[in-house]
């Protein structure tokens, strides 16, 4: 009984500590293109065994460059890239990796099972064929030509190809684009299972909800530099606190209709900012409960209270410089 009760806590705090083996690293990597564009500027990133890391950033931030370097598709201008202690540009280093890219057109004239057989053959100890079909949800469409599949089915085949070799390090680039809710949830469940089995997953996505629910660690990149790194809760707090007042305690957003003026609000301990827009007052508080008690005591006519955790979207926009 007590073991069952303890389990959720253990999972919630399951951010691997530095003593867990590092599976992939970018070490002081700079990538400069011949055109002069600096895609990555002195970036260091470590992926540890068993964690799901989400890489977030606006378009052109350097996410795809970072992931391509880790996949061995590109070489750094300076710095080192390492997966399982080897250079990812070597074929043999990639025997333990699986990749899912946003591919425009996979060979349309090959059947699903032919694609999977082809990719399984690259690896010395691939996942069982039946398991791949089940995990990727491809029952019933194995004999269809790739070109005959719907967008969501194509995504699932690409996911299957990433898992074909039973890899220990998996790169997923926008894995749930075009999937319906059921397929998306199912893929999330599979990704969580992978992490539970000790695999490492690096995920790039524009769906912040996906990063929020899947990732144990979020890395935000903007203009070639890492802006923020931490658990989803930490990133959300960092994004919504006043710049300079970085604290990792969880911040709450309190919205209400009240007559209390701004200067009094700011004097309440724990309030980091207060804005009044017409009728509505928005308060950022690092100690939500005591702030609420103060507010309710100060103004009996206060109404329409709404208490929320900061959204990852707002944190993300704040961190990557798109302020209102």
């Amino acid at each position: 009984m007590s073991a069952v009760l303890e389990l959720p806590d253990a999972f919630a705090a399951n951010v691997p500590c530095p003593s867990v083996e590092a599976v992939a690293t970018l070490n002081l990597v700079t990538k400069r293109f011949p055109s002069g564009v600096i895609a990555l500027d002195d970036v260091s990133l470590t992926l540890r065994r068993g964690e799901v890391v989400a890489l977030l950033g606006p378009n052109g931030a350097g996410k795809s460059t970072a992931v391509k370097l880790l996949m061995g598709l590109s070489s750094p201008t300076s710095g080192t890239v390492n997966i399982f202690g080897a250079d990812p540009r070597n074929c043999s280093a990639r025997l333990r990796t699986g990749v899912m890219l946003q591919v425009g057109r996979a060979p349309e004239m090959l059947r699903v099972h032919e694609h999977i057989e082809l990719f399984r053959g690259y690896y010395p100890s691939p996942m069982a064929y039946a398991d791949i079909i089940q995990v990727a949800g491809l029952d019933g469409i194995e004999s269809r030509l790739f070109g005959q599949l719907s967008g969501g089915q194509k995504q699932r085949v690409l996911f299957a190809l990433a898992l074909a070799g039973d890899p220990d390090l998996i790169f997923l680039d926008e894995p749930t684009v075009g999937l319906d809710i059921k397929s998306r949830r199912s893929m999330w469940a599979q990704i969580e299972l992978l992490a539970a089995r000790g695999k490492t997953v690096l995920l790039t996505t524009h769906y912040l909800e996906e990063a929020d629910s899947l990732a144990q660690r979020i890395v935000v990149i903007d203009k070639g530099r890492i802006v923020c790194e931490g658990t989803p809760a930490e990133v959300k707090s960092l994004g919504s606190s006043v710049p300079g007042a970085m604290n990792s305690r969880s911040v709450k957003i309190i919205r209400c209709v009240t007559a209390i003026p701004a200067h009094i609000l700011l004097s309440i301990p724990g309030v980091t900012s207060a804005t009044i827009n017409g009728q509505f007052t928005t308060i950022l508080a690092s100690q939500a409960e005591s702030t609420l008690r103060e507010l309710l005591a100060l103004d009996p006519s206060l109404h329409s209270i709404d208490v929320q955790s900061p959204k990852l979207e707002d944190a993300f926009l704040a961190l990557t410089g798109d302020h209102e």
Partner: protein, 266 residues
Amino acid sequence: MSTATFEFPRTNYFTRNLTIFLREARYEFIRLLRTRSFSFSVAGFPVAFYLFFGIIMNRGQQIGAISVAKYVLASYTVFGMVGAALFGVGVGLAADLAAGWLDLKRASPMPPLAYVLAKCCSAVFFGILIVSLLALIGITLGHVSVTFVECARMFALTVVGVIPFVCMGLALALLVPFGSAPGITNMIYLPMSFCGGLWVPLMFLPHFMQTIAVLMPTYHLGQLMLGAFGYASRGTTLSHWCGLLGFTLLMLGIAAVALRRLEQNS
């Protein structure tokens, strides 16, 4: 005893790569075969041309000791295999590159050589397919008589002769953006075939065209194929092989430079 255990991993590595290559080649060929637009046109054009120019138009004609139908058979088999190489490998690679599929393959543990060799092999298979089709038409409809040795020489030449054009396809795919790849390939393929004497025999072309023909790899391969039938008209066999070799090296050089440029920009 110790050497046996030392060699085991090496053989394993080799067999695994061989299996990967064979599977790659098989699926590449199946995929091209299933792509009706490719398989029908790459085989259809030489067949159509041969039927018109070799069989129907010059019914039973001879020029001296040369059977026109047999002469033209040699030219159009070369025309067909060059097309198979340029469109199968060249345009195919350009498509994979543009779609990002090649990135996925490169990010996997697939040895890159397996991919290139597989494409080369499927071009060879298509070449043999086309040559067989044309030979069949020639023998049945054109009353062409081909000895077994001549047949063997024809197939052997097909297997080797495709290679310079596979390299050309590689170079084109790496240089030319995918959208314009088919158009540019045609713009090179058709004039190159004509100037090499594959459509109209060289002896009927104007004098200056006969001189520049030496620059065309299609001319060299065409002459070698005619030589397989005993019809060689100009140059020595060695000079033709040298011409093809030089062309292959040139194409590989261009491909290497284009590849480096692509990698630097990625």
